[in-house]
């Protein structure tokens, strides 16, 4: 087995031209015929994991469409981007989904947005674009103008895309508006009595066309603010990931103090997000006391964010090259006091609650995801860590100030809802300890780098560990201070398909808790698609009423 970096680079050189774009990140440009072979080696043999597929319209630059498969090799602390040029006439390249099922959505998205055909893809259907979207218009192509498109679409008579209906079983629709979800998405559960035999997901209700808006209208330093609006819960990590991608592309050195401030805010965000998740989980299990108690403590964290940044959410703290506001001694003192209080309170509350029989009996051995399935679907974050995969961007691809901190990466093997809760429980306290280290050791210095200049057509990869898992932004810088291509990939994008695996064979009453256990963040994910189902069950009826099960 190959281990050292030089061996891997030699291997990559056999396949095509290797270019180092920044620290620990290499681009391999290969011909379409070799894609599958290399991807199989990277994902399965080298024990890396598939992270994201990015489509890109590069016809104005080099006359081709581009497809980038991003792989992260945790052991070697390496990121490898496999770049394939796609002929703009035939638009065909081999699909990697047969080898790595996790690439399913990614390729369908590239198909939606650029019209690239992935050969031998099992189900190359529309994923993200709305039901009435006309065939043959691919919004992220460079020759499509957003505003024209908008006017055209609103006036055009368009054919309906009829959704496939499963034939013979009870269907329990959950969503698009459902008390358990708080976000519009649609799950169709096929049940036999109480048991779920199959599930289908139609998401992407919240697809807002963020990439096109950023590429057409905004400048490089405006994009961080829209990046924060990708998600209202974990927005700051998107913000940081984007900034890091551009900084990497332009080789900007961020001052250490700015890195510390970024890390502090990222950890604050993680604590608040995990507490939110605990609240939602308790609420879904019918344990509202837990919900109220955790959210009461969470309010302290929100106040802390407000003191440090000026807003409870959407901090608006980042620019390419640094941060915008400083933290003074007084705020540090206040933060440390708050953290002590929060830690004390949480130990008291969560320790008790996670031992309650009512909680354990509804979460243990429910919603199982085995290690193999997790590897196949390339899940990330707490979901992967609860299935025995040790992956954490903070540890294996350190960014911001994480290389200077001491922390543990909690890993559990059971792969059920309870271990996902335990992973998050451990992470909360790890985060609090990290926050204390950061606040005590924050160095003096500048807040932003000087002379920030962004060259044209450079690629940069930005990685962060969001509360929900690894978060990848690929940026290609453009002319006139603009972004040529920006693809944010939120962790839920990789995690949502795994719910369909978890749901099979479980009881209907457990469905909300299972869906919530991955901490789905649909607004992050919503770029597009539908999942197909194969069913072989009898008995028919459609329940028009939404299942109001809590």
């Amino acid at each position: 087995m190959l281990t050292s970096i030089t061996e891997i680079l030699n291997l990559l050189k056999k396949y095509g031209k290797v270019e180092k774009i920044h620290k620990d990140t290499y681009v391999v440009e290969i011909s379409p015929g070799k894609v599958r072979e290399l991807c199989e080696i990277l994902h399965w043999k080298l024990n890396g994991h598939f992270s994201v597929t990015v489509g890109s319209d590069e016809r104005p630059v080099n006359g081709y469409f581009g497809v980038y498969h991003v792989f992260l090799l945790d052991k070697q602390k390496l990121s490898v981007i496999v770049h394939v040029k796609v002929n703009p006439v035939t638009l065909k390249i081999p699909s990697i989904t047969p080898i790595i099922p996790g690439a399913n959505w990614h390729e369908r998205e590239a198909h939606d947005f650029f019209g690239i055909f992935f050969e031998e893809h099992p189900n190359l259907e529309r994923l993200i674009l709305p039901y009435d979207w006309p065939e043959g218009i691919h919004p992220l192509r460079k020759d499509v103008n957003v505003r024209e498109l908008r006017y055209k679409l609103l006036k055009k008579e368009t054919g309906l895309v009829v959704e496939k209906k499963a034939e013979e079983e009870y269907i329990v629709p959950i969503g698009p508006y459902h008390p358990a979800l708080h976000e519009p998405e649609y799950f169709e559960l096929y049940v036999e009595g109480e048991k779920i035999v199959d599930a289908r997901y139609k998401g992407f209700h919240v697809h807002r066309g963020i990439e096109k808006v950023a590429e057409e209208r905004l400048t490089i330093n405006q994009v961080p603010f829209i990046a924060e609006r990708i998600c209202g819960i974990c927005g700051y990590t998107h913000n940081v990931a984007y900034c890091q991608a551009v900084e990497n592309a332009a080789r900007i050195d961020v001052p250490l103090r700015a890195k510390y401030i970024r890390s502090i805010l990222l950890e604050i965000e993680r604590v608040h997000s995990h507490l939110l998740w605990f609240g939602v989980l308790f609420h879904l299990l019918g344990f509202d006391t837990g919900f109220m108690m955790t959210w009461l403590v969470r309010e302290k964290i929100m106040d802390l964010a407000e003191i440090l940044t000026g807003n409870r959410k959407n901090y608006g703290m980042n620019l390419v090259g640094g941060v915008r506001r400083d933290i003074n001694e007084e705020k540090i003192k206040l933060s440390l006091e708050t953290l002590d209080y929060v830690e004390y309170k949480l130990r008291k509350i969560l320790d008790k609650m996670l031992k309650l029989k009512e909680i354990t009996s509804r979460t243990k051995e429910i919603g199982l995801l085995s290690r193999e399935e997790a590897r196949k679907l390339s899940v990330v974050g707490p979901v992967a860590r609860a299935s025995g995969i040790s992956t954490d961007v903070r540890r294996y691809h350190p960014y911001a100030a994480y290389s200077e901190l001491e922390f543990k990466v909690p890993v559990y093997d059971a792969g059920d809802v309870y271990s996902r809760a335990l992973v998050r429980y451990d992470e909360i306290f790890e985060s609090i300890s990290m926050l204390k280290q950061l606040l005590k050791n924050i160095p003096k210095g500048d807040l932003t780098a000087e002379n920030v200049k962004v060259p044209e057509y450079r690629k940069g990869l930005g990685l962060t560990e969001a509360p929900r898992g690894e978060n990848v932004h690929l940026v290609i810088t453009g002319r006139e201070n603009k972004v040529y291509r920006w693809r944010p990939r939120a962790p839920s994008y990789n995690n949502v398909p795994s719910t369909l695996v978890m749901l099979k064979g479980e009881k209907l009453a457990d469905a909300p808790a299972i869906i919530a256990s991955i901490d789905p963040c649909f607004s992050c994910t919503d770029h597009v698609v539908v999942i197909d189902v194969r069913t072989n069950v009898k008995q028919v009826l459609r329940l028009k009423e939404i299942a109001r099960g809590k």
């Binding site: 976000e183 209700h205 609006r229 929100m302």
Partner: protein, 186 residues
């Protein structure tokens, strides 16, 4: 304009029509112990049919439009609307995105033109996201407890493409297909 429609408890239905979650968690936040508006009789309900007030968060995306229309008509009269967040108020930064219809104004234009309904009283709570205090303030204005301080002003040209009849006909077809009801036609 104070509202005397609702003399007793307000029941609220929260409709996320394409929000980033920022406003959603702040809306949820006002029901938790720190702000706890349940003590004022304001309650979050699971079904639009139980609600008096419908809280919109986020811009209205093309995908959620038919579902939002259905949910809107499911709320019994008299009803009021609270638009929470900059996106819901006027479309926000998504105003020219291909996947977004617009804010609550664009939504109302569709309702006005094709369903000929009287628009409900609407309270706008701008902010990104608005603080929980601001949302409570908005609801207090709705109840007539507090007076409205600001008036609406337009900064943009009003010229927006008119939706064609076909668009709506398609929409209705789609809604029927999904097991929907005939909206607006009795």
């Amino acid at each position: 304009m104070s509202l005397k429609l609702f003399r007793r408890s307000l029941w609220v239905y929260h409709l996320n029509s394409g929000s980033c979650n920022g406003c959603d968690i702040e809306v949820l936040n006002i029901f938790t112990p720190y702000h706890d508006v349940e003590r004022l009789g304001i309650k979050l309900v699971a079904s639009p049919r139980h609600a008096d007030v419908i809280v919109f968060t986020g811009p209205i995306t093309r995908e959620t439009l038919p579902k939002a229309i259905r949910a809107f008509f499911a709320v019994p009269e008299p009803k009021a609307v609270v638009a929470v967040g900059s996106c819901a108020c006027g479309g926000g930064i998504w105003y020219d995105s291909y996947a977004v219809i617009g804010g609550i104004e664009a939504f109302y234009r569709i309702l006005e033109n094709y369903y000929k309904i009287r628009l409900p009283l609407t309270v706008y709570v701008p902010g990104c996201p608005p603080k929980p205090e601001a949302i409570i303030y908005g609801i207090a204005v709705l109840r007539g407890v507090l007076k409205q301080k600001q008036r609406k002003t337009y900064f943009l040209e009003k010229e927006v493409p008119a939706l064609t009849r076909d668009f709506i006909v398609n929409l209705e077809k789609y809604m029927k297909q999904e097991g929907g009801i005939n909206i607006g036609k009795k």
